[in-house]
Symmetry: C2
DNA sequence: TTGTAAGCGTTATCAG
DNA sequence: CTGATAACGCTTACAA
């Protein structure tokens, strides 16, 4: 391994000077020696050791992507398709800014604190079901933190998410506008997650405002994103159709597509016998017949915003918190019939 | 920040002793002092600094998941659904063994070498389009390396992948057994990737052996996993149907499901007018009508094997290379009609 | 513009 | 069993 000292002695200068060159402190070293040192670095193949660097400077150049899973929850959340896109986006951007991405699941506050001290991460993206205790620990760290899809909107932390409540509202409104009044809602409950419940809340409250309160019996719940659990919703939904339900809001496109396909398998004609609207605007939504109407938000923008927010905080360019709520819109693709 | 020295002085011992306690070297320290030190550690909330640790010991406790993208390729590969599951699996297992997972995209060999030296990673999982040059650099490092879905089977490296060639063979055989002789194959070409071409190769060679060589005009190619690119396959496939093609092998379930849905949208009745068989056995395959027949391999096992292989090498328990090729099987779900 | 020296937090060596 | 002491590779006052 080539160290900075090796370079220094090979170039006939001190380690300090080499260090200064590496960090581009042009004012502290003559162009002449700088060029020479650069040449030696290239020739010897010197590559700095990040451990040594982060030990002495207070910056580790590590950005962590923390996924909080409350104790016994399965790795469910991490299987969200958005998550992978976010990781890709974050890794790319952070890498281009000279950072390294660490992925870490933390079950407890203690895990988090330990991890933070272990590596002295420069910044944190945090996803998952963050509770009070956890967010408190985050706020307590002096590092930039960006919450992604956080269930709680902590005033001391930056966050990025879509307007789930409004999405629920728009979904309800869309169905109402098409003449539906016998409505239901299908929702996946993921422990500690607030995203889906918010969508339901928007849906429910908008219906109440419109004078068509949601019948609690027509809220169809499954307890995980697994196929088996999702499939268990189909029977109750079918029963509700028989009893007059004409339209269904669904908390995610994934679930909507699943219900749709199962109903069609059972011989239902859609949207004639049931109108549906999803949430998230997955690409698969245009593959079905009918195509899936849904609530759209810019998934790419979400990752971009998170990254740009982090970058600004890291560079010190921005100190105030960024609390970004992405707008949602209805995409009408034909899975909602006009009554 | 509480350091090991702080603990030492608080406990009235030397830093060395504290270190010994932390590492569980029971033989080198009396139970009495050990207990006392443990108590102090707990009380003061001491948490070791990994940078310092990896600087002095030769182990960083960092495991890197390297994704190699050849220069201009888009982040396509990382969007493979398997990738996320692999990450989740790897992060969990490695964490339980006391390691930290870093995610890193490397475009060039140089990127890789730099990264390796930067962090002195203890082990490497590598995905993506690895060429000779890249794999040589990997073999040159003294750290355990596990290639996942590597296009080349480097004799000096461990790898895990499914039997893509045999999958192609089985797909061809399945179609032949159902009486089809007018066959085609749809394949996504991802730069530097060998997985899909291998599937095609197996398909093609099996057909040749059976005396029904694949008409090169019936190989339908698209150049990325993007929706737009995939959709461009549908027209040619439709044309081929008109000209007598009765069955289609497809390199992935994703693509198969897309083609299936588009043909159905255009009024084709499946599998009556076209039989199809995919590859990968995605959960979505059971949502369609007909359900998608496919080539199955155990995606979970793939990640598990990769992890277990890495663990063994890290613990020194195993020094020989593990070169694992997962078996594939046909899953008959009804998207292949009997002629 | 350059160099010296101290020290970041930890582990390893070796002597007591 | 325990403890000095010297590294590990690098940055950063401060001195020249």
């Amino acid at each position: 391994m080539v160290t900075i000292k090796d370079v220094a002695s090979a170039a006939g200068v001190s380690a300090t000077t080499v260090s200064n060159v590496i960090h581009g402190y042009h004012s502290r070293v003559s162009k002449e020696t700088a060029d020479k040192i650069l040449a030696v670095i290239e020739e010897m193949g010197y590559i700095p050791n990040m451990s040594a660097r982060s030990l002495v400077s207070r910056s580790s150049h590590v950005i962590a992507m923390i996924n909080h899973l409350p104790s016994d929850a399965s790795g469910d959340l991490i299987l969200d398709p958005f998550y992978l896109r976010a990781i890709a986006q974050i890794e790319t951007s952070m890498r281009e800014s000279g950072y390294y991405l660490m992925l870490r699941t933390c079950n407890t506050r203690r895990d988090l604190v330990t991890f933070l001290q272990n590596w002295n991460a420069d910044g944190l993206f945090v996803t998952g079901a963050i509770g009070e205790e956890f967010s408190e620990a985050l706020a307590g760290s002096d590092r930039p933190v960006v919450l992604i899809d956080s269930p709680l909107r902590n005033e001391n932390l930056s966050y990025v998410l879509q307007d789930d409540y409004q999405g629920g509202v728009l979904a309800a409104r869309h169905l109402l506008e098409h003449g539906h009044t016998q409505l239901g809602y299908a929702v996946t409950t993921v422990q500690g997650q607030n995203m889906f419940p918010e969508r339901l809340r928007g849906f429910r409250e908008e219906l109440a405002r419109a004078g068509h309160p949601l019948d609690e019996k027509r809220i169809f719940t499954c307890c995980s994103r697994s196929l088996a659990s999702s499939l268990s919703l189909v029977d109750p939904v079918e029963a509700a159709i028989t009893e007059g339900m004409t339209a269904l809001g669904v908390c995610s496109d994934q679930l909507a597509l699943l219900i749709m396909s199962q109903l069609q398998k059972r011989g239902y004609s859609l949207p004639a016998q049931l109108s549906m609207i999803g949430f998230g605007d997955l690409p698969q939504g245009i593959l079905t017949t009918p195509e899936l109407s849904t609530i759209h938000y810019d998934i790419e923008a979400k990752a971009v915003q998170a990254v740009s927010c982090m970058s600004k905080m890291l560079s010190g360019e921005q100190t105030e918190l960024a609390q970004i709520i992405l707008p949602v819109t209805v995409v009408d693709r034909g899975s909602v019939a006009r009554l």
